[in-house]
Structure formats: C-alpha cells, structure tokens
Assembly symmetry: C2
Homo-oligomer: 226 residues x 2
C-alpha cells in the first residue's frame, strides 16, 4: 500500500552528539573547555554511557580530544589548523567539482540553486549567522553530488565541520558575512555552463580567500585569549 513514514528513533547518544556538536561549533562550549561526563549527563538527563559514546564520536569528528583517564575537552583552535583545513579543502573540493560538473543533472543544479537562494537571504538578514554557515556547507556539497565520491564527500564533510568553527567565529567577530558572497552565484553559473576549468579555479580561490579572512581574525583572537 502507501508508504508508511517510518518513525525514526534517535538514540540518546545521537541526541547528545547533536547537542554537543552545536554547542562546540557555536562557541557556547569554548576551545579547551573540559567536558565532564557526569555534569553533561545530568544536564541532559541521560546516564554517562550515551555521553561517553557521544564524546567518542565527536572525537572522531575532530571537535573533541578524549584522553584516557583524563577526560575530554573541546579541541583547541589555532591558526595552523585553520590554514591546513582550508588548504586541504582547496585541494580536494576543486577535484570533486571537476569530476562532478560533467555529471550534474538538471535536478541537482536546481537543488543547488535553491540552496543558493536560501544562502543569499541568510546573507541579507544579519542575525542568521549559524544558518548561513550550515547552508554554505550544504551549497558546496550540493555541487559535488555528480562526482559520486562518497568517501571524498565524507572527508570534505568532516573538514567543513571543523572549518565551521572558524567561520562562525569570524561571523561573530565581524558581525557579518564574508564579502566574497557573490562568488557563489558566479560558481553556479560556471557549473551550469559546464566550464570545468574556470569553475574549479574560482572554487579554489574562493576557499583560499575564506582562509585568508579567517586567518587574520583568528590570529588576533587566539592571541587575545591569554
């Protein structure tokens, strides 16, 4: 008969992962801050088991450092890490894009267009800082679907999650969104035109621009943390 919408039973572990991830990305949990299992457990009304499992998953994502018998902390931010993250993205993402463009369907391009317009409205409305960041990642990903590269996508996803901390910090400090916003629209046009060469080059520079922006701001921030 008709498709029965399946009830998704999220485990407590998954819920804790989501809560903690958001808190770390948003900066509510600061870099270096210890994450006490019992404290989090009672705060979130679960036992320590799902908290531990969540912390392990977040460690795999690179947001948490988990030391045996010592405890977990939110990983530290550094200019070096930020640079490396963006440079790695600048290497991998253009490659993905190049492989994707020839295979992108109309449907996929429309989906990207849709995300892009949401991104642009988030850009105009000032306070939509955290949604902008999310949409930004989603927009990038939506251009790579044609590549059919699940492993690479996973790597990029992880790199993006970590970049997100820096981007949100930047948005927080500058109070706004990077000026390089027009590049997104241009990128989509190049993809539609099937201009692989120009699109990958633009993407590469786009990511490296983002790196430069983040770099200078994080530099001050990290210094002023002492």
């Amino acid at each position: 008969m008709s498709q029965v919408s399946p009830i998704i039973h999220k485990t407590r572990t998954q819920l804790v992962v989501e809560v903690l991830r958001e808190k770390i990305l948003s900066g509510e949990i600061k870099a270096g801050e210890p994450l006490r299992q019992s404290a989090l457990a009672s705060e979130l009304n679960v036992s320590r088991i799902p908290v531990r499992e969540a912390l392990l998953q977040l460690e795999a994502e690179g947001l948490v450092k988990f030391e045996a018998h010592k405890g977990a902390t939110a990983t530290e931010l550094s200019v070096e890490q930020a640079s490396e993250l963006f440079e790695l993205r600048a290497l991998i993402e253009p490659d993905l894009l190049a492989k994707s463009i020839p295979n992108l369907t109309e449907k996929q391009l429309d989906a990207a267009e849709e995300v892009l317009s949401q991104l642009e409205s988030a850009f105009r409305s000032e306070n939509a800082v955290n949604t902008w960041s999310e949409l930004n990642t989603l927009y990038h990903a939506s251009l790579y679907y044609g590549a059919n590269r699940p492993q690479a996508m996973e790597v990029v996803k992880s790199l993006n999650t970590n970049s997100d901390r820096y981007i949100r910090l930047q948005l927080l400090l500058t109070g706004g969104i990077p000026r390089a916003e027009t590049e997104h629209r241009e990128l989509l046009n190049l993809c539609k035109a099937g201009n692989v060469e120009a699109a990958t080059e633009l993407l590469r520079n786009h990511i490296l621009h983002a790196k430069d922006g983040v770099k200078t701001l994080v530099e001050e921030y990290v210094n002023n943390q002492n």
Copy 2:
C-alpha cells in the same frame, strides 16, 4: 633521578579496537559479517561496554558500519570504494610529499631509509604479508613528516587503513607482493635529491599503479563472493 618508564595503561576499549581492527584488515572477520556485541565481549573477556565503544571507533575509521538497534557489521568491500580510496590518496599524498621534501631533515630521511630496508626484507621473505602492509603505510607516512600537516596526515592514515584491506586481500590472492616494489627505493632517492617534481609524479603513479593492481583482483573476488 633516572627516567621512570611510564606504565601505559591501555583501556580495554583500546585493546578491543586493536584486536578487531587487525581481524578485519586480515580478513579473519569478513566483509559484511555481523559483529555481535555479546559474542565479542565473552570472546575477549570484557563486558559489552568496551566492545560498543570499540565498534564506534572502528566505524569512524570506516571499517565497521554501526546501525542503531540493528547492530554492527564489517563494511563491505567494493571496486568502487577501492578506486576512490586510491584516487584520493593519489591526490593528497603527492601534495603532502611536495610540501615535505624541502623540509625533510637528515634524521627523517634516515628513518625513512630504515623503514625501507625493513620493507625490502619483508618483501623478500614470502610470508611476511601483514608486516609488509604495515611497513608500507609507515614508509609512506615517514616521507610526509616534513610537511607538518597533522590533519592531512590523519586523513591519509585513515585512507591507508582502508586501502590496507584491499592490499592484504591482493597479497593473499596473488600469494606475493606487488612488483612495483623498486619504486619505493627510487622515490627515496628523489626525495634525497630534493627533486620535488619527479618525486611527486612518481608517487602519484605509484599509487595509481597500486590501484590498478587491486582493482582487477578485487573485481574477480567480489564477483566470486556470490
């Protein structure tokens, strides 16, 4: 007084991770095989808690698929995954090498040389199949230390772990070690000479050769699995 060698207390979770990882890489646990928590727990004389945590970590490494309420299984092998893994490595590793070569110290080069000779003896002695695989990964990594790119190294490490399953399968099926063994020595020479261009190109081809070798063999294997 004298340096007291610190007793490393490995947690049970860590031990379980190591045991299971080796079993999956070696093929003792076959692709798709379900990993029952209680069975593993009693087999390894621990409770289910460290087993669960180990399975979660192995999921992050890409060796295990963990589905809520359904259980964990060793991830499936596929030609597509193998190809993608090696192609990603062919993208990232040469970049790492290029950044590394100008900064490689004598000491680091000597260390690489040392690993290489071990690799070569493992190559000659037939049955040292699993140590060869390990040394191979280590040798590659040892050439990248100069790059000072911890994040990229982590990504490469993960890709290598997954490649390892395919390489070991290949070694198992062919009963020997790839013929491209001489390339390793040549690569080290180019690194010593500081010839970035030639070294990265050789490395790229080296990885893509490995890909081709694995690909054809895995193709048959996966087909014959039914």
